[in-house]
Assembly symmetry: C2
């Protein structure tokens, strides 16, 4: 930590541009940034901080390996600097996450000022776990640039560089810095926002300077970024906070303790360079009140994540409407309610597809759902289609059950082809875990809104959403009977999920340990589960991997989502056992 001497209290107004970029859309993303800087400048901000790779969207995956894309990204940054200047906002120091092609692809942040790219900061620590493959895509940086701007020394660190002990933060702490700005693209996970702010506070303390954390917002395939950007001081106090799940330009005033004795050189193994843009502190001005938002409840947070993930998948892929089966059950009801919140009732098309095994309540509950949501609804019985297969092929048992689910899949795809709606798959995490779904049947869809939501959690969200409607004086969207009745696939007479599966509360408990916790047999026994039930559940999970590989993407909300988070071989003879 550098020796500091208080001289005066320089001020700085910082805007956090919490934007929703689209991967690959360099022009559109640049437009978003120009607009945010215009807003920020109008609010008197001196510095704008964008999120990680805001110019390209994040994650770009193997686009990082395409030379045309990396050079276009770098060129777009140069053009953006000129454009901001032409727009009259060139005096605002704008830090923009982008993709650089200098000596291998780089996850980079560019500082734009007066029409020029005045500094480029490369990310040091490249996460390569969970959903991240950054060592596949990027070369790591090993230097830091500190910019002196209006008498304040500004350090820049990108996302993972905050999460790793030592490295950039330790170096900035030793070299001396007055404020750190940090572009991030941190995917949503339940409870992760609490972790972020606590961690960032610790890093602010290590650096001895406030930390400005700007996070991406928006959905990108199976990830959703929640925003929730903030500024935290070295005592761990949040000085300003932004909403989650909305695009937002958060403007806040900082009164900084400008240090002296700040140095260039090598600190904590990192070369720290300094560049002076403007040495003189700003003339004193009147402070604004920094915005602070109330954190969302757990259910509100998850619901918002699912709504945004769904909306952005649909819209960013050029669709405006969705279609899904309304079975009368809880999963399709929650998916429909999410879709209505995401896209509006007129863009959600429900189809009841009763078979000869369908209960009366499956039809009435589906109809009731459509009525409550106010969305287009139709009934398409599947009896004739099923009959032709069963009759021609002489099907019975499982083959007959699956044909019903598959006819529904074909039917939805036919309506999608005819009418241009995107098909939603309504499976939940529990059934996807144990393979309790029909591939090419109920698994049909371009997107699966509740793919990462365990069954017991689906019920919890349904109850919360209905209560929320009541609180607002609106009609609760989900029929009570869909919440309370025993779940059934209704593929044979009197069938119940509990015929094939343990009780959902127990099943979700085991899955939480086995899938989320990656625990082995002995741990599961020690947790008190019945050995036979463990064997059965673990085996079901293991042999369903081939189905999961062909399942559509859905929004990650847990620590370990199926898909890029949990990568197991299909061909796999390892079994947890006694």
């Amino acid at each position: 930590m550098s020796v500091r001497k208080n001289e005066r209290v320089p001020q700085l107004r910082i805007a956090l541009a919490q934007l929703n970029p689209t991967v690959g859309d360099l022009t559109g993303n640049a437009d978003l940034i120009v607009d945010a800087v215009r807003q920020a400048a109008a609010a008197g901000a001196h510095v704008v901080v964008c999120s990680e790779m805001a110019l390209t969207g994040y994650p770009v995956e193997d686009l990082a390996l395409r030379q045309t894309f990396t050079s276009a990204a770098r060129q777009t940054l140069t053009d953006l600097a000129a454009r901001l200047d032409a727009e009259g906002t060139g005096d605002v120091l704008t830090v923009v996450g982008y993709l650089d092609d200098q000596d291998g692809p780089r996850n980079a942040a560019g500082a734009l000022w007066r029409g020029e790219v005045v500094a480029r900061q490369f990310k040091h620590h490249l996460p390569n776990y969970g959903v991240f493959d950054e060592r596949r895509w990027f070369k790591s940086g090993d230097e830091l640039t500190v910019l002196r701007f209006h008498g304040v020394d500004i350090g820049m660190v990108i996302c993972e560089d905050l999460w790793q002990d030592g490295g950039p933060i330790a170096a900035l702490g030793e070299a001396g810095v007055d404020v750190i700005v940090s572009p991030n693209a941190s995917p949503y996970e339940r409870n992760k926002d609490d972790v972020r702010i606590e961690l960032a506070g610790r890093r602010a303390a290590e650096a001895g300077a406030p930390l400005v954390y700007c996070n991406q917002v928006g959905g990108q395939d199976d990830l959703v970024f929640d925003g929730g950007s903030f500024i935290v001081d070295p005592s761990g106090t949040a000085l300003a906070t932004a909403e989650q799940f909305v695009s937002k330009v958060l403007v806040a005033d900082l009164e900084l303790t400008a240090g002296t004795g700040h140095r260039s050189g090598t600190f904590a193994g990192v070369n720290v360079q300094r560049k002076v843009l403007a040495d003189e502190p700003l003339p004193a001005y009147e402070k604004i009140t920094n915005p602070q938002v109330q954190p969302l409840s757990d259910e509100a947070e998850v619901w918002s994540a699912l709504v945004l993930g769904l909306r952005d998948y649909v819209r960013k892929n050029g669709f405006s409407s969705v279609i899904l089966g309304f079975s009368g059950g809880i999963d399709s009801a929650v998916c429909a309610a999410l879709a209505v919140d995401a896209l509006g009732p007129e863009n959600v098309h429900g189809v009841s597809m009763p078979s000869k095994y369908s209960s009366e309540h499956s039809r009435t509950d589906a109809e009731e759902l459509a009525k409550r949501l106010g969305c287009p609804f139709r009934v398409q019985p599947i009896a004739d289609m099923v009959h032709t297969y069963v009759d021609q092929l002489g099907l019975e048992g499982l083959a007959e059950e699956n044909v019903q689910a598959r006819v529904r899949g074909v039917l939805l795809m036919a309506l999608s082809n005819s009418e241009g709606h995107l098909v939603l798959a309504t499976g939940n995490k529990t059934e996807i875990a144990v393979g309790y779904s029909t591939i090419y049947g109920d698994a049909v869809g371009a997107f699966a809104p509740i793919k990462d939501v365990f069954k017991t959690h689906v019920w919890q969200l349904a109850r919360w959403r209905n209560a929320e409607a009541e609180r607002r004086g609106e009609v609760p969207p989900i029929p009570e009977n869909s919440i309370t009745k025993p779940p059934s696939a209704e593929l044979r007479p009197g069938q119940l999920d509990t015929d094939s599966l343990p009780d959902y509360a127990l099943l979700d408990d085991i899955l939480d340990d086995y899938v989320e916790g990656d625990r082995g047999y002995a741990d599961l026994v020690a947790a008190g589960f019945d050995p036979d039930v463990i064997d059965r559940v673990v085996r079901m999970v293991d042999i369903a991997e081939y189905k999961r590989r062909q399942y559509p993407p859905g929004t990650k909300i847990t620590f370990k989502a199926f898909g890029r988070d949990r990568r197991l071989p299909i061909t796999n003879r390892w079994r947890e056992h006694h």
Copy 2:
């Protein structure tokens, strides 16, 4: 390079255990190794070298992160050492690739001798590109162990450590070593075997010692390992070579130039430790003639790769038979011929599923294919099923076309459910690239044998396979008409692929540049392609990503296969353009 002085010429008989392990099957894989060591010992071998992670199979993917699995793998290695000793083969020095849990998961090789694990070598360089994610799974090693055995200094390096300049090989060269043994799991790619032997020869020269390269054989999901193990001397001469695509214990004699002045210490930045197991050279014995195999032709190599990849996917996942649609076209004919070569004709079930748009030749060519292959065959017309959808939903155009493909998918799945056959999808790389297939229709299947074979290559393989049959005096499996007729999906009257797609020769040329080469628009124009055709093809490839995500796995044979090799976002607005 160490200073060397020839003293005498120690001999050593080395066996390369080119085995086909199954991922996760610790017991079964240990059995394979015990059996190979027994064979090797019977042939008088002193050293056995297994492939990379032979005990666990490769790649284990996220099983490496499961603590129960890593500790079981390490325990199995200890047990294997004891078992080899109990079997009377403990005097053979056996180098086995395995997964170690010491201080983080390690991609490791264990040296087993006289009932003990006498050394553990960790992999230094962890590949994290292409199909590899080893930085996700493993911690890298930073030391080398050299074993003195019968007067010979044996170094060990694992797979990628050979491919990287400097590092382990440079260290062994400086420290001094008489022979290097290298466990590998190098997935098949066209022409890669030539690259391997040339590279290994260069490394042998750098180390001043022969290099013993043992590669895994067998299919694992979308990868197939081709074996083709070899020994190469510092002049680049192959001293012994094994067949590709078969399990094999290759036994060869080496006459080694035992060096003196070999040292422990730090060389090329790597700590080299030495351990003496047996100092005295072996008494002189009569040399055997080292086996040498003729390389396969390009077509024979690819065909064998596809056969083995298919066979292992089916069998390792507990199936014995497959079912697929016989359309009369080239793709299904080649898939059927591959399946018959992989599983035998009695295990390949062909189904002709004619619609009202099917040509007469589609039926007769399908029947002819079945006759030539000698496999079970049936006809299931789809008219009645299609009619119920079209009629009830009032379908036309694309929706009607897709229903036909989807009815076939449901039909095959129903037969699969009833009879227990695994369904094969027959799509080729060209159509998967441009999205010229129906999701949940012809894309239905657990495995796609020619997923990574471009259309023009499919024809080439068909001609080769027929010629090969003629050469052997057998019936050519593929009807000539299926090879020569213009390709058509037959989903509407008179439809031809060329209605929607450029000529396949041109299309495959563009795809080779765009998909394999990751080239941008300017490069494609410079290569002489028509700008409008480029635009059309690139757009088709880009927007078909969502279909590819739900496509079944298939054997990788090219540099860049769809799937884990080419990871692009679905939501992606980047377009190569003028």
